[in-house]
Subunit: 224 residues, 2 copies
DNA sequence: ACCTGAACACCGTTCAAGT
DNA sequence: ACCTGAACACCGTTCAAGT
């Protein structure tokens, strides 16, 4: 019987396995569940054991972010137009982050602390520079673009909590009820849009529109 | 001697004064400093006293968000073009959030839980609907737009921590050093843009470009 | 090199009790 | 209505000690 994905069976501890377990835990129960002590018991080890592999708790969160950024599969640079290339790169980042909505909040502040994040930033900045952005403009736009992918994932309706099935339906119902009880004179548009705030009717369309927004926005601020 | 802004002198506790103190604390030392016990001592009261005014800690954080959203001064609806109106509203939101970079992370997930946040959402959705967006499109775009204002504020270079003066300079220096030590063959663009990642050279320009991006992006995804 | 034991300061929260 | 005292379960972290 080999080790499980969570690494629960006896096997040497390692930065890698601990970070993997941490990401897994965050995916299942949310970031707040990622705790030194919880992680330790999941690996059948004493809390203090983790301090051999990580400086402190923040370092294990860094480890989570690193793993996600490292999972981005960047497309090979093509010679197509810059905005098509940008879209492809952003899509690759989205594909990597989308499976981790509950861990996504960790990502944005940690791009520049992560090796793989730096590679991403380099790539995006490079594309923007070739499109005519100055060094200052490119860095600002690149970091906004990467943060926006995270926003897209975290603010997808109905993906904010670790619940599933029964419990999720209950939450959805009560959200709907709350919105439906708003005064119709003051909130006509919100009432009409209410269902789309609690559940995403078409995820692919949602993300496609998000991508369009980001590419169009970038084109819009591109220096003449 | 009347009460101070933090409400440290003896005066009855209230939801309002507690939320104000919490926001102030978050602004000074960051969200993690906002703790039931810390807040209690700042108001010369026992930790359990807070539970009379708030259900739990999350409700305190809701209170912070509510205060920020309530501070938005919406422009009176004009009859100008939809994109100019959108820009004005987004600018108003930005103006309210900008003074609270360290508290901004609380805001995005709490728009729909806050009275003032609902008003904002209603307003933006209304504008988008008049511009031709469907109910589904409008809700998605509106929530992305509001989240993006937060992103703009939180990811402004150099505004991520509670430090000031001396200590801030030290952090900046070490960040610069770290970036400067990257292999130039692999990170040519990042090296060139490095300074702009640690300090914002021109805040107003930064936010102006952000606003342009959001308006242009919205225009770009507007249904034909 | 890698992990444990004991200890510390801090946290959110409940519940019964005071005024 | 509004606040306190005592208690509980949980947290991150240090430091000396084991193997």
């Amino acid at each position: 019987m080999a080790s499980t994905a969570t690494g629960s069976t006896k096997e040497r501890l390692s930065r890698e396995s601990l970070a993997a377990g941490a990401l897994d835990l965050a995916d299942r129960e949310g970031i707040d569940a990622v705790t030194i002590r919880r992680l330790a018991t999941e690996h059948s080890v004493t809390p203090m054991a983790l301090y051999w592999h990580f400086k402190d708790k923040d370092a294990v969160l860094d480890g989570i972010a690193e793993r996600v950024y490292a999972s981005v599969v960047l497309p090979v640079p093509s010679d197509g137009p810059w905005d098509d290339q940008l879209r492809e790169v952003l899509l690759a980042v989205l594909a990597a982050i989308r499976p981790h909505p509950l861990a996504a909040d960790l990502l944005a502040p940690r791009i520049m602390k992560s090796e793989a994040g730096l590679v991403l930033a380099e790539r995006v900045i490079g594309m923007l520079r070739r499109a005519g952005f100055s060094a200052s403009e490119a860095s600002q736009t690149a970091s906004f673009l990467l943060c926006s992918i995270v926003t897209l994932v975290t603010s997808e309706p109905g993906k904010q909590n670790p619940l599933t099935g029964e419990a999720q339906e209950d939450v959805d119902r009560s959200k709907r009820a709350k919105l439906a009880s708003l005064p119709p004179k003051l909130f006509p548009n919100l009432l009409e849009s209410a269902p789309y705030f609690v559940t995403c009717d078409n995820e692919d369309e949602y993300f496609a529109r998000g991508m369009d927004f980001l590419v169009e926005g970038t084109r819009g601020v591109r220096p003449a």
